[in-house]
């Protein structure tokens, strides 16, 4: 461990973990209400980021069809995400009701492929650097660290907290908390939780299960787009944004498949693990920050398959 790097990496990991937690939350939400593992969530994140970029007139200076300010573009993208979520539920998931798990996982993978292709057709393959982020990469809070015993304990004597990352972290956690409160204390949230317990039972007490499914996909769309916007303010828009959702899966398993709070904790833990691995002295270990979440995933599967806060109902053999 390269100790001088650790404090900075802790901050980076924590801030990245916030966005990761929000994205993980979207997947858990869908799973809880409709028992679908949404492998297309990352691509919904990507579509959300691209739509924000497009609504903000990123596609081409003067000739842009729509040229909204950043906040309006974000709202437009969120509305688009709601429609997209409803559309996915109605056209793809509802005909699949009652199919086995494998088919439903595969259909979300099909959605993901479709989104990838459509995004490429409409927006091209090259990454977009002109995302109208409210913060420039140079906006950084600098926390000076006084040397201890005459020795600086931190690289460069200071900790750097970019505005964009900090804002993303705050927005992500705020959104996550709002969604959890929504899930716990509103009627819609209550009906969603009832549906996640038992579809038929929920139907029999008068909950419109189909509407709940639609609602949860719409909310997942909102969460995904929010995550996409946050990621785009940090690193711009590109086709690779969806890979972050693949890292969210280890976060979900770590937190527990059924636990919203666990998803947040898992997201932050995975962010920290990824960042701390980069503080290692060995180049092999440093390079492994891409796969560190998956190694963590295997460890979780061996030691505690239900995750930290999940329901313990996996049948052991």
């Amino acid at each position: 461990m390269n100790w001088v790097l650790v404090p900075q990496q802790l901050i980076n990991g924590l801030l990245n973990g916030g966005t990761l937690a929000l994205i993980a939350l979207g997947i858990v939400l869908i799973y809880k209400s409709s028992e679908v593992f949404n492998f297309a969530h990352g691509h919904m994140v990507m579509v959300g980021a691209y739509m924000t970029w497009w609504f903000a007139g990123g596609s081409g200076g003067e000739g842009a069809l729509i040229d909204l300010p950043f906040w309006a573009a974000s709202i437009a993208a969120l509305i688009f995400a709601i429609l997209l979520g409803l559309l996915i539920e109605r056209l793809v998931l509802r005909p699949m009701t009652g199919q086995p798990l494998l088919s439903i996982v595969l259909v979300t993978l099909g959605i993901a492929q479709l989104f990838e292709g459509l995004t490429t057709v409409f927006f091209g393959t090259e990454p977009k650097s002109n995302f109208p982020a409210p913060f420039a990469p140079t906006d950084v809070f600098v926390i000076p660290v006084p040397p201890i015993n005459g020795q600086s304990i931190v690289f460069f004597d200071q900790l750097r907290v970019p505005h964009a990352r900090l804002a993303a972290f705050i927005v992500a956690l705020l959104a996550a908390v709002i969604f959890i409160l929504f899930f716990q204390y509103t009627n819609i949230g209550l009906s969603m939780r009832a549906t996640s317990e038992d579809h038929e039972l929920a139907q029999s007490v008068g909950i419109r299960v189909n509407r709940v499914f639609g609602m949860s996909w719409a909310i997942a769309g909102i969460i995904a787009t929010l995550g996409g916007i946050l990621l785009a303010t940090i690193s711009g828009v590109s086709l690779n944004i969806f890979t972050v959702a693949l890292v969210a899966f280890p976060a979900i398993l770590l937190g527990g498949l059924e636990s919203l709070g666990g998803a947040i904790l898992g997201g932050i833990s995975v962010g920290l693990v990824q960042a701390l691995v980069q503080a290692s002295k060995f180049p092999e270990v440093r390079n492994s920050s891409d796969i560190a979440p998956y190694v963590l995933l295997l460890i979780v599967l061996v030691l505690r398959p239900e995750g930290l806060f999940g329901q313990k109902r996996i049948e052991r053999i």
Binding site: V92, S103, L106, G117, T125, V302
Partner: protein, 365 residues
């Protein structure tokens, strides 16, 4: 096997009941089909020069289909028969390609040793990822194989640079030599792929109709009931996982020798694993013909998508890069969703319906 036979179609002897080919015409048809396939690469001796590029395309696509079918047959054992989702088949192909390539480069083994060796090595390697995941099922296994899909290509890029290619992303794999005859051209190498395809087809047909396959199917249908009936869940899931990885390894070895290189530079990424799953579903899960139909259907579909992309790239040259790459995922995604919604049992099921309709002609609609 499981297909319902029409009334009056009896087995008249024990051998007939047990045979893979129950009637003489099955055997004759298979023989004719094999001869036709064997003749395809030889046809370039009789074709006019203008048709040679088309012929080369057909042979290389046939070769691609052959090794893809082998990978799919492995996935079919794990996903179709045992009901476990695997998102790591492409990564196991990578392992197989390395095993075969390194064994041929450093030890000089002939191809008919290295490919089974690749299968064995990949199977054992796959068990590393299988062991933690076999205590769990469904989504959790998908997660463990997803981990394999990321960890294996990472290993190929970052560990043992001298042997695995390191940052350059690939190592060269020699083209096999057999009895002083070099299988460098794809029109020659196709025979090797085809020979292994026949072998793995025979293996997978026989797995499905023996105790092993019945145990797999019982685990898929109801794992608790299977355990009550005395099926050792852990052992049989482990075997399914081993077989899936082993078939992937053989397929990867054949692909590596075809491309004369192995490494992450040649793909083997997550989307390939997803496409394998999609092929299997489109072909028909758990059927012997499913891998054939799925591989042929999707690979031809991808070629159509590529040529359409190239066509549109010619029409709109300013967006050429986007159009060339985007049709493939769109076609695949739409086709996968349509099949899952409207024909979840795949082309193989449709084929059974067509056969049944043919039997009762002229009464079928």
């Amino acid at each position: 096997m499981a297909a319902v036979r029409p009334a009056g179609d009896f087995d008249r002897s024990y051998e007939q009941d047990m045979g893979v080919m129950r009637k003489p015409w099955h055997a004759w048809l298979t023989l004719v089909a094999i001869l036709v396939v064997v003749a395809i690469p030889l046809a370039n001796n009789f074709l006019p020069a203008s048709a040679l590029s088309t012929h080369a395309y057909i042979v290389s696509t046939a070769n691609q289909i052959a090794y893809t079918i082998i990978a799919l047959q492995g996935l079919n054992i794990l996903t179709g028969l045992t009901g476990q989702i695997s998102l790591g088949q492409a990564a196991f192909m990578l392992v197989g390609g390395y095993v075969s390539g390194l064994a041929m480069t450093y030890w000089g083994f002939p191809i008919f040793v290295t490919v089974p060796l690749a299968g064995l090595g990949t199977g054992l390697f796959g068990l590393l990822f299988g062991l933690p995941s076999l205590r769990v099922k469904g989504f959790y296994l998908a997660m463990a194989t997803l981990a394999a899909q990321f960890i294996i290509p990472w290993m190929s890029r970052n560990l043992w640079d001298d042997y695995l290619g390191g940052t350059s992303g690939f190592i060269e794999v020699p083209s096999p030599v057999l009895l002083g005859y070099e299988f460098s051209e794809v029109s020659r190498f196709f025979y090797i792929s085809f020979a292994f395809l026949l072998l793995t087809t025979l293996i997978s047909i026989n797995i499905k109709r023996t105790r092993l396959g019945r145990a797999f199917i019982s685990i898929r249908d109801n794992d608790l009931a299977a355990e009550l009936l005395g099926v050792n869940l852990f052992g049989y899931k482990l075997r399914a996982f081993f077989l899936a990885a082993a078939f992937a390894g053989m397929a990867g070895a054949l692909k590596a020798h075809t491309q004369r290189g192995i490494g992450t530079e040649f793909g083997y990424a997550l989307d390939e694993s997803i496409i394998f799953l999609g092929m299997l579903v489109i072909g028909g899960l758990g059927t012997n013909l499913g891998p054939y139909f799925g591989a042929i259907f999707v690979i031809l579909l991808e070629d159509v998508a590529l040529s359409m992309g190239a066509y549109f790239a010619g029409v709109f040259p300013e967006q050429a890069a986007a159009l060339e790459t985007s049709f493939r995922p769109i076609f695949f995604g739409v086709m996968l969703m349509l099949f899952l919604i409207f024909e979840p049992r795949g082309v193989a099921h449709r084929w059974e319906l067509i056969k049944a309709a043919w039997r009762i002609r002229p009464f079928a609609r």
